[in-house]
């Protein structure tokens, strides 16, 4: 059995590979295979899988890529993920990607979908607008038709029909994936020293670039290895991270928070595979099932409207309570409209619930970790001393 260190080392190699060699190899292994990229924060991956395609999570270029061309497309006051995504495109790192799905996150990613159409006219690209009305008879009817349109787009791309049975099989596989993902998160919440967030993060990020079957096995292997290993328990405080659902912090920042004395027991990093919170039924109409899952069984995040004022931020407070977190770090990318506009409302709810919090901003290429360590360390100390 591979150790957690060995498994995570392999994940890190894959995570750092911004040429996507493994995804290229998957495509090359069989003629006719297609790869469909997607941006944060939620895409029904089941649909891409059912089309026989590899869903490939594109989270920008991280801190490993120097952005040269991408900066020529964006003003200084736009976040970094779109510019590094463009850099990936214009440097041909995505030249094997046959389709791109830009789900609704914010106006920047929305507009990037149009830029992609202009820059890469031979790539099928789709802006995927999820409903903000959550009534199954209104938003649900609209969303089902959008899902059908997505289905047709993928069918045209691949030249093969996506049957309802294909979809049901894919939903079952992703249900398994969601179960395993939740199990890893639960393990971390129970014994964060056994499943540090730097490990969990890499497990989840690379999972969004590989076939789901492979990811399911990886998650099983990791949990088995983690259970068999004894890692030292530290006197850390338990914290939740919110606000990091789209542009991702550099891995060093994630590690720095842990090194500063925090066990991260809840987070919304890259979110995609935890967006749906319960198993999706595999009987009946799969499109209706996907639609209902989005409408009724999905997380509260800044990209979704919260219909009732009293419900705003309740999800965050409940998650903090569920994992017995002692505080929250609201960590957002600079210039991230969704997270930053939400910040006062979410933090107000945390205050009402007497949950201590701090907030800071980052970029995917932030390099100076000392201020983060100091801030997180002071926060951890303050929780230990006064909470």
């Amino acid at each position: 059995m591979a150790s957690t260190a060995e498994l995570i080392a392999a994940c890190q190699t894959r995570f750092e590979d911004i040429d996507f060699k493994d995804a290229r190899a998957w495509k090359a292994a069989q003629p006719g295979r297609k790869v469909v990229g997607f941006l944060p924060v939620y895409v029904p991956l089941e649909m891409i899988h059912a089309a026989g395609c590899l869903p490939l999570g594109i989270f920008g270029g991280g801190d490993q890529m120097e952005v040269i061309h991408g900066d020529a497309y964006y003003q200084s006051y736009i976040c970094r993920i779109p510019r590094s995504t463009i850099e990936l495109g214009v440097t041909n790192r995505l030249d094997f990607v046959d389709g791109m799905i830009f789900p609704f996150v914010c106006d920047v990613i929305r507009n990037l979908s149009g830029m992609w159409k202009l820059m890469f006219p031979n790539v099928w690209s789709k802006f995927f607008d999820t409903p903000q009305n959550f009534d199954p008879e209104i938003g649900g009817v609209y969303y089902q038709a959008e899902l059908q349109e997505l289905r047709q787009g993928l069918e045209t791309l691949t030249g093969r029909a996506i049957t309802d049975d294909d979809l049901r099989r894919s939903i079952a596989l992703y249900n398994e994936n969601r179960d395993l993902v939740r199990a890893v998160y639960a393990l971390r919440a129970r014994q964060p020293w056994k499943a540090p967030t730097s490990d969990v993060y890499l497990l989840m990020r690379v999972g969004l670039t590989m076939p789901v079957e492979e990811h399911n096995q990886l998650l099983r292997d990791y949990m088995a290895a983690a259970a068999a290993e004894d890692r030292p328990k530290r006197d850390n405080v338990r914290i939740a991270i919110f606000g990091s659902f789209c542009e991702q912090p550099p891995l060093n920042l994630i590690k720095s928070i842990e090194m500063a004395g925090c066990y991260v027991v809840e987070d919304d990093y890259s979110l995609v595979n935890r967006f749906i919170t319960e198993a999706i039924p595999t009987d009946g109409d799969p499109i209706a099932a996907l639609s209902l899952a989005y409408l009724q069984k999905s997380v509260e995040t800044s990209c979704k409207y919260v219909p009732k004022e009293e419900d705003k931020g309740v999800f965050h407070v409940e998650r903090v309570r569920a994992v017995a977190a002692e505080g929250v770090i609201y960590a957002t990318p600079s210039f991230c409209d969704p997270a930053l506009l939400d910040r006062p409302m979410i933090c107000a709810r945390l205050s009402e619930a007497k949950i201590p919090y701090i907030a800071f901003k980052y970029a995917e290429n932030s390099g100076q970790m000392q201020p983060i360590r100091e801030q997180a360390g002071t926060f951890a100390d303050s929780i230990k001393l006064w909470s």
């Binding site: 106006d107 507009n111 202009l118 506009l341």
Partner: protein, 427 residues
Amino acid sequence: MSEAVKEPSMLLQKDMIAKNYDAITSKHETGRKVSSTFVPGNLNELLMCFDILNNLPEINAIQNGMRKLSGGYIMEAEKSGHSEDVCTYVKADIGMMGRGNIAPNGKPFPDPDVLLLSYTGCYTFMKWFELLRAEYKCPTLMLHVPYEGDGHSTKNMRDYVVKQLKEVIIPGLEQVSGVKFDIDRLREYLANSAKAEDDLVWCLDQGKRKPSPIDSYFGGVYYIGPIFTAFRGRQDAIDYYKALRLEIQARIDAGQGPMTPEGKSLDDQNYRLVVEGPPNWTSFREFWKMFYDEGAVVVASSYTKVGGMYDLGFRHDPANPLESLADYCLGCYTNRNLPTRVDILTKYVEEYEADGILINSIKSCNSFSAGQLMIMKEVEKRTGKPGAFIETDLVDPRYFSAANVKNRLESYFQMIEQKRQGAHRAA
């Protein structure tokens, strides 16, 4: 600067706006209900069916920007935890609340009875009203208008918007107002809208003339005022556009350009520009002066289309009232995808025989700004006309650097001159 000289149509509009503010701030005396809502996706005719007054936070922010109040309001909001990175309209609005919520007529704004969240073309709208809802604790009616990601609306999008109007918005407004919805009343208002829209389109179309009798950006923001705000569907909007049309016709007959705030008409027009993006409001007059001092006139702009793209043929249609409202919302400028925006701007440069495209990129408006550098390159490529890029903000005076903007504009005008000389030499 001396007092700005205002044309009769401006004075007419000023009077309309003042009366609307008076109606809003006297809500407690009159018993009228007040909504807050947005310019893109504005459902004024529908609100009128319920006798609900229309208050627009964006317009309040603009008013405060022009009256040099927004800077303080923004800092007030930032002190209370709102990020320096986000939309300054939002912060100006929230900061104004923190300082007594005083309307331009000097009276306090009453709390709205309903927030009509017509979510069209701008993500921030959704968060803005979530923030206001937390303050006002009033009903919020959300109308989600899907984005035209593939460059056109679909039947599914239209049906979705109509269904929300029927099952969410109209019942919600009935409940707030106590007034039963009457579709014939809506038809009547929509017919009024279409009349005013015809005249607005005629006015904007005059930018094709040489010299242009209008400035479609600095003057244009006045021209769109009534139709984008609380007056569309009303008789006074029809009257306003008739008056504006006569005013422009008189300038055409006299061979005059648009009136500047200094009271002179800009007859010697050296440069004809298409402008993309909203204007800066905190230094509006200084900004405008940089153009007319150089003889630059804006012949077409995208900002004058954020509240509806009437020039592309859309009219509110009394025969299909709810469908027409849906089409209106779906078709607003910032709800159109980037390739479509490039097509529209290219068409403007060509049809209005402009010398090029100028982009005023707004720091805190990602809906407009994200992708504008590519828009500029594409329009330059397709038209062969030079583009230029300046950066300001909506209502945050900290982001208006007059010297930088002026330098860039002067360089741009030189670039246009050089292009012209090159073209002459080649000929």
